[in-house]
Amino acid sequence: MQNKAGRELPTHIYGLKTYRPYEGLFIDPPAPVLMAGRTLRVGRPGSNKVLASLVEAVEATGLRDGMTISFHHHFRDGDYVNKLVMTAIASKGIKDIRIATSSLNDCHDFLIDYIEDGTVTALETSGLRGKLGAYLTQNPGKLKRPVIIRSHGGRARAIEAGEVKIDVAFMGVPTCDRFGNATGRIGKSACGALGYAMLDSRFAEQVVLVTDNLIDGYVFPYSIPQTDVNYIVPVETIGDPEGIASGILKITKNPIQLLLAEAAAKVIEYSGYFKNGYSIQLGGGGSALAAGRYIREKMIKQQIKGSFGVGGVTGVFAKMLEEGLFEICYDTQTFDTAPIQSLRENPRHVEMSCSFYANPWSPGPIINNLDVAILGATEVDLDFNVNVITNSNGQLMGASGGHSDIAASCKLAIIVMPLIRGRFPMVLDRVQNIVTPGESIDVVVTDRGIAVNPRRQDLIDNLRKSGLKLMTIEELQALAHRLIGKPKALALSEDDKDITAIIEYRDGTLLDVIRKPF
């Protein structure tokens, strides 16, 4: 079958349900969907939720072969919880576990061992990186079915719609009380917002909190309420603070990233959206962070005040909130230490769940109100389709994140990337894999020129006054080819057994499949 993004896809994929093909940005569910529920459980006065070990928690939840567990990625590359839990599960000899996590980082390479010994047989995630990404790219069939890649909003949708049924959510929390009220704002492993954990705790059949700061008394404000929590396990440490929050993120000194940032800021300035009350998503990438600085200067100079900022939050945005340049900051995950403090102290810095953030099957996630966003890409193509999950060698090394959610929802989706990486042009005839459909992308900013999606003639007109080098996407590609030539297309296995992952669009339709490269 061919979907609306022009991808030829198999009708049946081993181990998976039959998917509807992607049909466009906003399509209603085929039939009414009820919000998922869970078994009600009675907690009696005086009962104790605190257990001595994760093994005890595995026993108490009744976790067994074939079940689904979940984790969040708020500890980013410093996460210890996933490994602590998997070690406990493996020690009990439990097999055939499906991990439905909000994302994975380099620190999760150890999962290869648990895939090899059959403890883990299915993975659902936003991102895959490091050795695990390489291993899964090269070894389709090691899991019972391809990895399912979902966006943050798409995962929230799938959980709320009951498509992903989590049996036990193992949620690392930087601080909690003995009843299960938990927060990420304080504690030695403070990570800030717990937007992904909030959703899993709300919908999982059972919830186990794992913490290295169990306090007497009560946690307030809490992100996870005690009414959602079944068990609590104190451990020595839940993560490496270095990997959890990157100190204070510094503005990049890389001249190319600065160049891209300046151009992106200029696109916003001349887009027509840069006026009082506008809203923005910046993200934590090098160029987005630097763009924040340029945007801040422009807002001060032109006396513009925005309404809200959203997303993964960095110190750059926390500062703009503090200065009154924006009214509200909606935070689903917090990248560095300055915004963690802001979340703690500034009442206008609001924590939100990933469903509030981006779930397309809701009457209104906050990104539906979003004006402009700066997003990255590993590559784009002539139809403006964007890949953020595989690299030029076809290897899984990125994350879907909120990319497709934001692009579909906001009024101005800006992709920022260098035109050339190494000796590869980054504008392809067809991207290796589509994570975000081109119809939701408005502008591609590169270091050698800027291309506006031709369906946005209004933007083309506005940006003519910016002094930026406007080109068609074809001209951008030709420029790259002139400099470094056109590389041979990557050869991929066409055998359906060699599908390593599938990319589910945010509405649950099938956008693309990821095939093993030769």
Binding site: K253, I256, L259, G467, L483
Partner: protein, 304 residues
């Protein structure tokens, strides 16, 4: 033959190490007026041939969108300079920068090689020109003669070597360069060519850099050598005329054009008499404003 080369805008000349493919590829993205590929001091002896060849092929293969220059090794004091020229001249850089220039003989030797290559390759005469760096007291004593060599379009101060020769060190107020800067500037002006100031190596100190650029611009320098892209916009900002200056220059040029077209004699703008130097200055201001993107091509006619 090379009148244009003597007057083109050179607010910034950015050094780019000649052995870094990544930096060479991206060299023209930051808006420098001139990119200067270095095969001299930033290249270790064992890397000289690699850098030379890389610059040679880069100049042939990449359509850089600004002026290109190559800083070669010294032609008589090192064994590399002549080989640099043999390899690089056929790739037709706009400028060759001679380091540590100390005599007109060096300039004439290079001029001769350039002329031979221009003829052999069929390049128009005057395609490749020379910028001489003065980096020693001896060179400074010869600068007046050096500046008058016909292929030389600019004199640059090579500050680091110069202060070593003086046995002093860099200061923020720049007293160590007072004489050299003045002498170079005067020699350049006497010869009708440009003067380019030395690099400011403390890349992180943007305020100190800003002050130094303001000083050398006020002295009369045409531009500054830079070592990092972040320095470029600061130089260009300082070299961008104010709105008032631009408006006045536009008016002067419009009146002058009108006077020439209608055979008017003496003319005045805002009550002040306009003569040759004022027109030349107005032209320079308009050129700088255009380069800064605040005046469209032919803008001064529209503004009349």
């Amino acid at each position: 033959m090379n009148t244009d080369a003597k007057s083109r805008l050179r607010r910034t000349m950015m050094f780019v190490p000649g052995n870094s493919p990544k930096m060479i590829n991206n060299a023209d993205l930051y808006g420098a007026d001139t990119i200067m590929f270095d095969v001299e001091d930033s290249i270790f002896v064992s890397q000289k041939d690699a850098a030379r060849l890389m610059v040679k092929y880069a100049l042939k293969a990449i359509p850089f969108n600004c002026e290109t220059a190559v800083r070669i090794n010294h032609v008589t004091q090192t064994p590399f300079g002549i080989d640099d020229l043999k390899a690089i001249l056929p790739s037709k850089p706009d400028l060759i920068r001679l380091p540590k220039t100390e005599s007109v003989d060096e300039v004439r030797l290079v001029t001769k090689m350039i002329e031979e290559v221009e003829q052999r390759e069929g390049f128009p005469a005057g395609s490749i020109n020379i910028i001489c760096a003065i980096e020693s007291v001896r060179g400074l004593y010869e600068v007046r003669a050096i500046a008058k060599e016909p292929r030389v379009v600019a004199i640059a101060l090579g500050g680091e070597d110069f202060i070593a020769d003086l046995r002093t060190q860099r200061t923020q107020r720049g007293i160590e360069f007072y004489h050299a800067r003045s002498e170079i500037l005067l020699a350049a002006r006497d010869a009708g060519i440009q003067a380019i100031d030395t690099v400011y190596a403390e890349v992180a100190n943007l305020e100190g850099f800003r002050q130094e650029v303001t000083d050398i611009k006020d002295m009369g320098f045409d531009g500054k050598s830079v070592v990092h892209p972040t320095q470029i916009s600061i130089v260009h900002e300082i070299y961008t005329p104010t709105e008032k200056q631009i408006a006045h220059a536009v008016k002067v040029l419009a009146c002058y054009k009108d006077a020439v077209a209608n055979n008017k004699g003496v003319l005045a703008v805002d009550g002040k008499m306009i003569d040759g130097p004022i027109v030349v200055r107005a032209e320079r201001i308009v050129a700088q404003a255009r380069a800064a993107g605040i005046l469209a091509e032919e803008g001064y006619e529209d503004a009349k």
